[in-house]
């Protein structure tokens, strides 16, 4: 029996809930990492890994898989949470995040962790790698697609715009870039540090098809990803309006949790709120 839209969304929400718990735990155990931007991206990443993308956790190097490039590489917790839930890595292994000898490096390392498609970390680089991947699929006339998640602060890097220009130039309609517009970077609100808006107008001017969604509304996420599949010779840009730290009342919409783990007391509050055990 095929899944109805309602059932699909219920399933995705359950996975996203577990992913947020993983994110909070991982960063708490490591006492470092980036929970805020991981939680803002969770609903989109869950939809990609557990509905939209064709991939095989038993065969991570399957040639015809869709690719996900986490250009905002500091948000490894959301990526590892997805890879653990999908079965690329054991959930237990999340305890090793950011520790010596771990496959789960602070920033993604494709040579260490199965399922990681691109080693990112210095910002602005993922979209270029995604462009190269999309070009390869075009060259081989393969139907696989590339999804690239951009950070908002990251979009201040000039390389993003070099990549944006080249994606349109080479008509990469197999490439989707998703901006996690959670509105905060380390030094504060993006609009105060260095305003990046209007991003829809910018990408449109660069020759992309564009759309704006609520990045926590599953109906909108599902619809826009489906729409992006037929983008007519243009790459597709999605501005996903999200909340930093989404999922826990006191982390939500706060820049404070960009680059720090929760304290013990905060974890107790957060887990109680999420209906999960702590410790």
């Amino acid at each position: 029996m095929s899944e109805t839209r309602v059932q699909l969304i219920e399933r995705l929400k359950k996975i996203a809930h577990r992913m947020r718990v993983h994110i909070l735990n991982m960063t708490y155990w490591a006492n470092s990492g980036h929970p805020g931007g991981s939680m803002s991206a969770t609903d989109i990443v869950a939809t990609l890994y557990f509905h939209q993308m064709k991939h095989d956790p038993q065969n991570p190097k399957w040639a015809d898989r869709d690719r996900f490039v986490l250009s905002k590489g500091h948000c490894t917790p959301v990526l590892y949470a997805a890879l653990a839930e999908a079965g690329y890595i054991p959930v237990e292994e999340l305890k090793t995040f950011r520790q010596v000898n771990s496959r789960l490096q602070g920033h993604p390392n494709l040579l260490k962790c199965p399922g990681v498609e691109a080693s990112t970390g210095t910002l602005g680089q993922g979209l270029s790698m995604a462009v190269g991947m999309a070009l390869a699929a075009k060259l081989d006339q393969k139907p696989w697609r590339v999804y690239c998640m951009l950070g908002d602060g990251e979009s201040q890097e000039g390389q993003i715009w070099e990549a944006a220009m080249s994606a349109a130039h080479y008509k990469l309609d197999n490439l989707v870039a998703i901006l996690d517009w959670n509105k905060f970077q380390i030094d504060g609100a993006v609009e105060n540090v260095m305003n990046i808006m209007p991003m829809l107008d910018k990408f449109k001017a660069f020759g992309w098809n564009v759309a704006e969604i609520d990045g926590h509304d599953y109906n909108q996420i599902l619809d826009v990803l489906e729409k992006a599949e037929s983008s007519g010779q243009r790459p597709f840009f999605i501005q996903a309006n999200t909340s930093k730290g989404k999922g826990v009342s006191f982390t939500q919409d706060k820049g404070d949790y960009h680059g720090r783990a929760l304290t013990k007391e905060e974890m107790q509050r957060a887990m109680t709120e999420l209906g999960e055990k702590f410790g």
Binding site: L110, A118, G124, S128, A136, Q159, M165
Partner: protein, 335 residues
């Protein structure tokens, strides 16, 4: 339209022989075309310099597998990485300076860190860039490239060696940095020559001093050998094209024998061949080293010949420094 720049077609010539002049970048372009015909997986990228780097020859023959990224080297190296991670054998070209300094973060964090199967083949290295001047001259690229983990670094000495290095780079998986110069240089090898990764090529032995040279300096050092011979000196010349991996054995062998070596490079002595040799000797066989090259400076405009003359990197300049080195050698080894 893809911009092919000021692409010149190579003039048809008969078989070249040792001593004839040919640009390494011409050999690069021709070898790319041959590789492209053999292997459909080979793709070539450039950043608006395809006429100069000679990737334009490949672009003309295989337009579907050539991608011009415009004046955007950072994006080019990133996209090169993405193509390689998707199974392509990628050659990406620009000038030495742009690849190693402009796009260093991408070279390091995307390409080398991922062990991507990308061959960064650069031209216009060193002072031989000519009249463009300091902004386009690369006197630091070997120092930069050889510190990047996972990267193989080679600077061929002539067009024959260049072709072999390019073929080898296509065969071997993993990232390469290949350093070529702009001007024509004399052929030192014939087709019987076999380039070996991590092996130096001893062109001449010499009683008085062994000169370890790289890139276009090898031909100049051989000329210097002739000049010095007439003055009663006997120097040997070793081509150290393979910078990483490096042939420590050959260096140690002559250091043991002579106690004093000479290095010459169209590059800063900080971090280049001179440094590599000193690092090896410090570990295995302490010896004196006279390092000739540029000394902590930016270049300047001028045709290659007068520039080489000014910076004493032509045969006469090298001969001058060899004599200085020999005087110094006598002094220090007599102690």
């Amino acid at each position: 339209m893809r911009n092919l720049g000021s692409l010149e077609q190579p003039k048809p010539v008969g078989p070249l022989k040792v001593g004839d002049a040919k640009a390494m970048r011409d050999a690069y372009g021709e070898t790319l075309v041959a590789l492209g015909a053999k292997d459909k997986n080979v793709v070539v990228l450039d950043a608006d310099l395809s006429g100069s780097t000679k990737t334009g020859l490949f672009a003309k023959k295989f337009p579907d597998r050539f991608f011009n990224f415009g004046i955007a080297e950072q994006n080019m190296l990133g996209a090169a990485t993405g193509l390689a991670l998707s199974g392509k054998t990628v050659f990406a070209s620009t000038f030495a300076m742009f690849a190693t300094t402009r796009a260093l973060d991408q070279f390091r964090n995307a390409l080398a860190f991922s062990k991507a199967n990308v061959k960064v083949v650069v031209t216009h290295a060193g002072l031989m860039t000519g009249p463009d001047g300091a902004s386009h001259q690369s006197l630091e690229d070997l120092a930069v490239a050889r510190t990047l983990p996972n990267l193989t670094v080679i600077a061929p000495a002539d067009a024959v060696e260049t072709s072999q290095v390019i073929e080898l780079a296509a065969r071997e998986r993993g990232p390469f940095y290949v350093r070529l110069v702009r001007e024509k240089t004399p052929l030192l090898y014939d087709e019987k020559y076999r380039f070996k990764l991590g092996k130096a090529s001893v062109l001449q032995d010499g009683r008085d001093l062994m000169v370890f040279a790289i890139g276009p300096m090898v031909a100049e050092a051989l000329k210097a050998r002739g000049l010095l011979k007439a003055q009663g000196f006997d120097i040997g010349v070793v081509n150290t094209a393979s910078i990483k991996p490096f042939d420590a054995q050959t260096v140690v062998k002559y250091a043991k024998r002579d106690g004093f070596l000479f290095t010459v490079e169209d590059h800063s002595v900080l971090g280049g061949l001179g440094s590599v040799v000193c690092e090896v000797l410090a570990r295995e066989q302490p010896a004196y080293v006279y390092r000739h090259g540029t000394h902590d400076l930016f270049g300047e405009s001028g045709e290659s010949k007068p520039l080489y003359k000014k910076y004493e990197l032509d045969a006469e300049g090298i001969a001058l420094h060899v004599k200085k080195a020999l005087t110094y050698k006598q002094k220090v080894l007599r102690r």
